[in-house]
């Protein structure tokens, strides 16, 4: 569904249904981990040498050097998360499409659909954004403690001080210390991990780290951005003692090793059934189990994740009760396969849960490439916008469940433009706009032609095979406005490659966006990401420019005016100023008309067996998946009751719940 290199480690990732990845699970490859340990230099020593070699970045001071006037925060005033009625224990059964290719959390192949279970949703960061309190403070979001128990911001020195909770333990029992915080920088900047994105992020986002004592350290930044807390507090320590064999062979050596975690669940070696299933076990006496914000979460003792290769098959497994919950985002599953009248639903064995969340929305829409002959003409782009019948798609294809996306950045709260509305389907306006571009007559097939006899035919590329029907609806409607959209459904990777290389005319694609404080514009709209040198020194268009491949400026937008706004936005240290700039940029982009905003899916919906209970308010406001915050629990009594009722056919009260508080 989603294609972007967002720093998933630092932000809760959307688990993708995606992944057509073929993998050779269970193919008896000799595990590097089982190889006898050679007598090689200890990576911890190497890390020490590295710190010493980079004194500009790694600073060592003593506890006396911690400024006394810091204003420490601990987030303890924030409301708790989860339901006090949650029961501990039991086993939850779930599924993934592919067996994980590795248990590493960093490096090649680690960014798969299984990783959230061991890292993104499980791992405690220093502190985490509160998922229900979404108002903004002068320092950005509200944070609740995780591995850290308090933190402080020194605005003047662009520094965040972090104090690690002395009770914090790795899942193997070792204490978490500032050594692990320092080592995180060594690891993520190391070339051993074969992850250039991290190498770059950890080298450019931060300007240094200072260790004061066993539990206190500080992160230094080159600039004071309003999201400074997310780049500092949402960082993670890594278990230095675990990585002592780190070296060139890291990807193979650590392929199937279980990384000690700060979180509630670990994978034990005996619970890995390669190619079939993998089971998470709750850490015995987990250090955070009684802490506020964690005591009602991570409830089941075990989470068993089976591999089922096909979505339709998994659905049947869910119906049988082999899987405890299922993502029913498809209208077909929700309305046709398990309608409210289905016996399992009407008899209350399966609950239907629809939860409206409030998060930045993936940008489903038509991305028009301004570097192509037809679409370089704004009149044609405007025409295409009016010829695209998203409202029909929303009302008839999604059955009215989705809503229209209005800007390029919906769901950012105050940062989303309050009044801007996307252009609606209007055949007359489309025809008028196409006419301005010279396309005045209809040809024999009803498609507009210009005086040179050129047809108004534009290619629409996508990698989303499951949205093919949606595109044929758009296509049929566009013909009425005299526009021929030629649909091209490619393999996901091929479509993305084509789009990133700016070989597309129109691409139907969406960027995944994490729950960030404010939208990003540089990646998608700066001229630096459109052309190598878009403009000459004097500000005129560089005649020799050609689109720059491998960037996310999919519209090939290049405007000096827009660049100036983006640069100001990225430099700004004031949220209010950034907000005003964001509005201006949205207005600019509306005028430019090269992105036709598509739809927003404003909810998640799931089926869950009766014994899998969720909190009274459903989930948290910024949840992107059922399991993300681990709020659910198993009620063994209900399980017994439900299974018996199912056997005897006894009806129970149906449970169809809609949570609309964040609608």
């Amino acid at each position: 569904m989603i294609m972007t290199t967002s720093d998933k480690l630092l932000r809760p990732a959307l688990v993708l249904l995606a992944g057509f990845t073929l993998l050779f699970a269970g193919c008896g490859k000799k595990d590097a981990a089982e190889a006898p340990a050679e007598n090689k230099p200890n990576a911890l020593d190497e890390a020490k040498a590295y710190y010493a070699a980079n004194p500009d970045f790694f600073h060592f001071k003593t506890a006396q050097d911690i400024p006394a006037d810091l204003n420490w925060e601990d987030g303890m005033e924030l409301p708790d998360i989860g339901d006090p009625n949650a029961k501990k224990g039991g086993t939850v059964n779930y599924w993934v499409q592919d067996f994980p290719r590795t248990l590493r959390t960093i490096g090649p192949d680690s960014n798969g659909s299984f990783r959230p279970w061991i890292l993104d949703d499980n791992y405690l960061r220093y502190a985490q954004r509160h998922p229900n309190v979404t108002s903004l403070t002068e320092n950005g979001f509200h944070y609740f403690p995780g591995v850290a128990d308090r933190w402080a911001l020194d605005r003047e020195n662009k520094t965040v001080y972090i104090h690690i909770n002395p009770a914090a333990r790795w899942s193997d029992g070792k204490p978490i210390t500032t050594e692990d915080a320092l080592f995180s920088f060594f690891l993520h900047r190391s070339t051993y991990i074969k992850a250039p994105w991290y190498n770059n992020y950890y080298s450019t986002k931060y300007s240094g780290i200072t260790r004061f004592d066993e539990h206190t350290f500080a992160l230094h930044f080159p600039e004071l951005r309003p999201d400074i807390y997310s780049t500092s507090l949402e960082n993670i320590p890594v278990p230095a003692h675990f990585y002592k064999e780190l070296g060139e062979d890291y990807p193979e050596r650590y392929q199937w090793r279980n990384v000690p975690t700060t979180g509630a669940y670990v994978v034990n070696d005996r619970d890995i059934d390669k190619g079939r299933s993998i089971t998470l076990t709750r850490v015995k006496d987990w250090w955070a189990k009684d802490l506020k914000f964690y005591r009602y979460r991570f409830n089941p003792d075990r989470i068993r994740i089976m591999v089922i290769r096909d979505n339709a098959k998994a659905f049947e497994a869910f119906r049988k009760g082999d899987i405890d919950f299922f993502d029913m985002r498809l209208a077909e599953d929700w309305y046709d396969k398990l309608p409210d009248s289905a016996p399992e639903i009407a008899n209350g064995y399966i609950q239907k849960l629809k939860f409206y969340n409030d998060i930045p929305r993936p940008t489903y829409g038509l991305w028009m490439n301004e570097a192509t002959p037809l679409l370089s003409n704004r009149d044609i782009r405007v025409g295409v916008q009016h010829a695209t019948n998203w409202d029909l798609v929303i009302s008839k294809f999604s059955r009215g469940d989705w809503s229209r996306m209005e800007t390029t950045a919906d769901g950012y709260g105050d940062f989303t433009h309050p009044t801007l509305k996307a252009r609606r389907y209007d055949i007359d306006k489309a025809l008028a706009s196409f006419a301005k571009a010279g396309f005045t007559k209809r040809g024999p097939d009803g498609i507009l032609v210009n005086d040179q006899g050129q047809r108004l035919s534009i290619q629409l590329t996508t990698g989303y095979e499951h949205y093919k029907d949606l595109l044929t609806i758009l296509q049929e409607e566009a013909i009425k406005a005299g526009l021929d959209l030629r649909i091209e459904v490619l393999d996901r990777t091929a479509a993305w490659k084509k789009t990133q290389e700016k070989k597309h005319e129109i691409s139907f694609v969406a960027f995944n966006v994490g729950p960030e404080l404010f939208p990003r514009y540089w990646e998608t709209y700066h001229s630096k990401n459109a052309y190598d040198q878009a403009f000459l020194e004097d500000g005129s268009v560089n005649p020799a420019r050609s689109p720059k491949p491998q960037t996310n400026n999919l519209q090939t937008i290049a405007s000096i005016k827009l660049d100036e706004m983006i640069d100001a936005y990225d430099r700004s240290e004031s949220l209010e100023e950034m907000k005003q700039l964001a509005y201006k940029m949205e207005e600019f982009l509306y005028e430019d008309a090269s992105f036709s905003p598509g739809f927003v899916i404003p909810y998640m919906r799931h089926g869950a067996w009766r014994w899998l209970q969720v909190p009274a308010d459903g989930n948290v406001k910024i949840a992107t998946s059922f399991e993300e915050y681990h709020l659910f629990w198993i009620d063994e009594d209900l399980k017994k009751e439900t299974l018996e009722a199912r056997k005897s056919g006894k009806p129970l009260p149906p449970a169809i719940k809609v949570f609309e508080q964040y609608k």
């Binding site: 294809f397 055949i427 097939d445 009803g446 095979e465 609806i473 406005a481 030629r486 091209e488």
Partner: protein
């Protein structure tokens, strides 16, 4: 054209095999019918009588709504027009085809895009086999899907045989080093996994082309990887024929290689080829269906049986009519062609006419 009496006997023999012969008649009938498909399965009427004037919208340019007094300039929605004719009752009328649907026409069912059951199962009127996931008529899609598949496979057969026979005969005729080298080349070539190549090529080809052009490209790619198997049969057959006296006689008379191969040897080896033909068509239909099923075949919204099968497997419990009718249609066509193939093989079997002593 004077046919060889032997061939005439073979054809008579073919006719006498009733199952194969009637399958052949039905298939030819279907092919001819599909050629005139627009007259039978279409959402454009055959004839419109409007304000005393006659229109024949089936073939040719589309007629904008304004012609019939609508306020839009895109193609007339004839179903609306028919409704209007009926309610106005001014003597205007139209004659709709037997199946009044276009294979690409999305139509909501009960207000949303979802499959509608066949009319005899209580679905909307006129959809004999129901509709697919965006409300397109399954009969229309099967009908046009069949037309594309059958002509695709006929073209596929013709091209593979052309290349296969040409190369095979040359190998057999010249033999020696030429034969050796070409054999090795073919071995290498045929070791390239065909399906992967098609998938890879089709996912990266910049398709600024129209749908017919893309179908042609798929055809070319499939032919490029399929002609090799034919060469082996032709090579051996040519080797055998080359050793016979009549070939030697032709050589002595001064005939060139081209004449010898195509005028003397080829007619005598043709019976081998003919028996393969129906099965090649079967495999081509299967291949294009499989590719569509995998999503690497014809671009949407081209009607295709593979695409319908795929939809069908995903909606097995909610819309069994999709997979049901597609599967039946596919089996029907493949069985027809297989029957023909068996009959041809039997009729052309040399053992029927020759006795070795």
């Amino acid at each position: 054209m004077a046919l060889n009496p032997l061939t005439l006997r073979k054809l008579r023999r073919f006719r006498s095999i009733k199952r194969g012969y009637w399958s052949f008649v039905v298939l030819i009938g279907l092919v001819v019918l599909s050629l005139l498909g627009e007259l039978f399965v279409n959402n454009r009427p055959l004839l419109v009588s409007y304000e005393g004037k006659w229109y024949f919208p089936t073939y040719g340019a589309n007629i904008p709504g304004t012609t019939f007094g609508f306020d839009y300039t895109y193609e007339t929605n004839y179903r609306d027009l028919n409704e209007r004719f009926r309610s106005e009752n001014k003597g205007d009328w139209m004659l709709m085809p037997l199946v009044p649907f276009n294979p690409n026409e999305n139509a909501p069912y009960e207000g949303v895009f979802k499959p509608a059951p066949p009319s005899w199962m209580g679905g909307p009127e006129g959809h004999w086999l129901g509709t697919d996931t965006t409300g397109r008529d399954i009969f229309a899609r099967l009908f046009y899907g069949f037309r594309i598949a059958i002509f695709f496979s006929l073209a596929f057969m013709a091209l593979t045989y052309l290349i296969g026979i040409g190369v095979g005969c040359l190998m057999g005729y010249y033999g020696g080093v030429f034969d050796l080298i070409v054999q090795r080349l073919i071995e290498i070539w045929s070791n390239i996994p065909f399906l992967y190549i098609v998938i890879i090529l089709f996912s990266v080809i910049p398709s600024t082309f129209s749908i017919p052009a893309r179908i042609a490209m798929l055809l070319v790619v499939m032919v490029l990887f399929s002609w090799t198997s034919m060469t082996y049969y032709m090579r051996t057959a040519t080797y055998r024929e080359k050793a016979r006296d009549y070939t030697a006689a032709a050589v002595v008379l001064g005939a060139g290689p081209g004449r010898i191969i195509f005028h003397h040897i080829l007619p005598n080896t043709i019976s081998t080829i003919v028996t393969f033909m129906p099965f090649t068509v079967v495999s081509a239909i299967t291949a294009i269906t499989a590719l569509d099923f995998l999503g690497f075949g014809l671009p949407p919204p081209t009607p295709s049986m593979g695409e319908l099968l795929k939809q069908g497997t995903q909606t097995l419990t909610t819309a069994p009519w999709i997979v049901g009718s597609t599967f039946s249609a596919l089996v029907f066509i493949l069985v027809l062609i297989t029957f023909i193939g068996e009959a041809v093989r039997e009729a052309f079997d040399p053992k029927k006419f020759t006795t070795y002593q």
